[in-house]
């Protein structure tokens, strides 16, 4: 078993007998030491990731006091609650629209950065990535203050254009818009950086060939850039879908689910029910609803990544 992975030509390379013994010792210990090196990782994942994941399945089948097995009781209870369906709807609206806008803005901005002379790109990239660097909990506080009902700096500015005070976090529709806006602000730079890296890897010759064939800029994007970037776009979007769907910080700080639970998404509602409402089984059941979507996205990401691995 030990020899399987080590190429046989290695032993041939070691000519002298003394060295071969040393090599053989190394080989003999290899499997063991490799196991020891990965042991902390395996333990960490097993105890603090896989076990809690299974444990939450178990928790979801208990009653509030966690004394009795209720089977699917928690889920049945959830399905009957209006708030739950509101959360499902809002989670989907939030995740999908935020990811679409992040991807679009990221794509456009990446093109603009790519357009400017190479020596100035660093500066722009540096500025545009700042939202991603600031801890989201901290930057959301700034947004909360920008959206403040009575001192909103946005409303102050908009009042000069005759646009009346907007209830950024007070009205259900505006609050939904606000959490998506903040999420787009926070996440678009990540897309920008990924797409910029992808744009730089597109060979210049392809554009020259397209230009010679008389392609306009739209055709160049559609037939050259997008197909070349397809893989990165797919991975980045799926990845962002997972992160956005599981988002907690922004919604929690900006609206805490309000007004009237209209901006709750799975994570914040699970926190409200499970930790603040101390109904741990119900909270676990709520967060379990994230699993199907996360699993689908993860499967696609994994497929793309293994595909890339096989190609290279």
């Amino acid at each position: 078993m030990v020899d399987v992975a080590f190429q046989p030509n290695r032993t041939a390379a070691a000519q002298s007998g003394r060295r071969r013994v040393g090599l053989r010792n190394a080989l003999r210990r290899k499997s063991m030491s490799a196991f020891l090196m990965t042991l902390p990782l395996i333990l960490l994942i097993a105890i603090l990731v896989i076990y809690p994941a299974i444990y939450s399945l178990h928790l979801a089948t208990l009653n509030k006091a966690m004394t009795k097995f209720v089977g699917f009781g928690n889920f049945e209870f959830l399905f009957k609650r209006e708030t739950f369906w509101l959360v499902v709807k809002q989670s989907c609206i939030f995740a999908i629209s935020a990811v679409v806008f992040k991807a679009l803005i990221g794509f456009i901005v990446a093109h603009f950065v790519h357009n400017v002379p190479a020596n100035k790109q660093r500066k722009w990239r540096g500025m545009l990535l700042v939202p991603w660097v600031i801890p989201p909990a901290m930057s959301t506080l700034a947004w909360l203050w920008l959206f403040d009902p009575s001192y909103s700096a946005f409303n102050y500015t908009l009042s000069f254009f005759g646009i009346g005070p907007i209830p950024w976090t007070g009205d259900a529709m505006w609050a939904r818009f606000s959490v998506i806006l903040v999420n787009v602000w926070y996440g678009a730079p990540f897309f920008m950086i990924m797409y910029l890296a992808a744009l730089k890897s597109v060979p210049e010759q392809l554009y020259e060939a397209a230009a010679i064939d008389g392609a306009n800029w739209w055709q160049r994007i559609w037939y050259v850039t997008l197909p070349m970037m397809r893989n990165i776009i797919a991975i980045t979007t799926l990845f962002s879908l997972i992160v956005t769907f599981a988002n907690f910080d922004i919604v929690r700080i900006l609206t805490a689910g309000g007004p009237l639970d209209h901006t709750h998404i799975f994570a914040t509602w699970a926190f409200r029910v499970g930790i603040e409402g101390s109904d741990i089984p119900l909270g676990a059941s709520v967060s379990l609803f994230m699993v199907p979507i996360l699993a689908v996205a993860a499967i696609f990401i994994l497929r793309d990544i293994t595909k890339r691995g096989n190609e290279s």
Binding site: L44, Y51, A118, M138, W145, W185
Partner: protein, 303 residues
């Protein structure tokens, strides 16, 4: 990954075809115009933090032009930086982040080395598993983890909930999978001849790792360290769930739970706290931007 940071502008040919070069100039002007718009969009919240942090409470409640400071004052900074409570948050955050970075590196570097080079039974599956673990978000695990640690406390009498050091056990679940994953990528890109030569010269696996792999993959190591630090520094959900006493809080949770008292928002101090909380990642980013970006792009592009 280093190729990401090299500007591949290519030789710009001086083509003077009239309309073509005029198109280019206009494209450039539009690019700058939109980039300025996007830069304003990106930088408004942090700049507004700075503006508000320099205002006194009186100026904030006077509702003057919010975008301008008429009487700049450092009183918010002085007040926060001399408050024991705030410094406590800062130290808690710093300790948690530094220890978590150390734990992460101690776990993920040897594991990545073993997974990248010492093929053993199940190593490919484990590598995939590590990546999948990275995709499991914190909001899925916080409830079972909270219950787990509470039950653990009941069984053993070791109370971990509501102690800042409980975060040392939990944060590695966020940092280790990603760091292992990108370190596998960096280690795999090192030519095989290098470690073969070392092994033939009689180096042990451990020596191969410390003398060859770590120095050669240093950029990757720095990127992973930055990632681990920024993730631990910015984490909000776990400390919110696990810690409640004010002396056990880390910075983000501390600012939100102590500076916001009911309906009274002391915005000057909140913005100052937020800016100070955002400072360490921003400083690291300002000095190590290339490594930061390398780590960012490595996650999805390494295969």
């Amino acid at each position: 990954m280093s190729t990401m940071t090299i500007d591949k502008s290519g030789p710009t040919r001086k083509v003077k075809y009239g309309s073509m070069s005029r198109d280019r100039t206009w494209a450039l002007r539009w690019s700058y115009f939109f980039l300025i718009l996007f830069a304003i969009f990106s930088l408004t919240p942090p700049l507004y933090m700075l503006i508000t942090s320099l205002k006194s409470s009186a100026e904030i409640s006077a509702a003057t032009n919010p975008w301008w400071v008429y009487h700049p004052t450092l009183s918010n900074y002085i007040e926060l930086l001399t408050s024991n409570q705030f410094l406590r948050f800062f130290w808690n955050s710093a300790w948690v982040s530094i220890i978590v970075v150390t734990i992460t590196m101690l776990i993920s570097v040897p594991a990545a080395f073993a997974l990248a080079r010492m093929k053993f039974w199940g190593s490919a599956t484990l590598a995939t598993g590590v990546f999948l673990t990275y995709l499991i978000p914190d909001s899925l695990l916080f409830i079972p983890l909270f219950k787990m640690f509470a039950v653990f406390g009941d069984w053993t009498g070791i109370q971990l909930v509501n102690r800042w050091y409980v975060l040392l056990f939990i944060y590695p679940t966020l940092t280790v999978p990603f760091c292992t994953w990108i370190m596998i990528g960096y280690f795999a890109s090192i030519p095989k001849e290098l470690d073969e030569a070392a092994i033939i010269d009689g180096a042990s696996w451990f020596q191969t790792l410390t003398r060859i792999f770590i120095p050669v993959a240093l950029p990757g190591l720095i990127a992973a360290t930055i990632f681990a630090f920024t993730v631990s520094w910015a984490q909000f959900l776990y400390p919110l769930v696990f810690t409640t006493s004010t002396d056990q809080l880390v910075l983000p949770v501390g600012i939100i739970t102590t500076l916001i008292k009911g309906d009274v928002f002391n915005w000057g101090q909140i913005m100052t706290g937020a800016l100070l909380g955002a400072a360490p990642p921003l400083i690291i980013y300002a000095f190590l931007m290339d490594y930061y970006i390398a780590g960012l792009t490595a996650g999805a592009t390494k295969g």
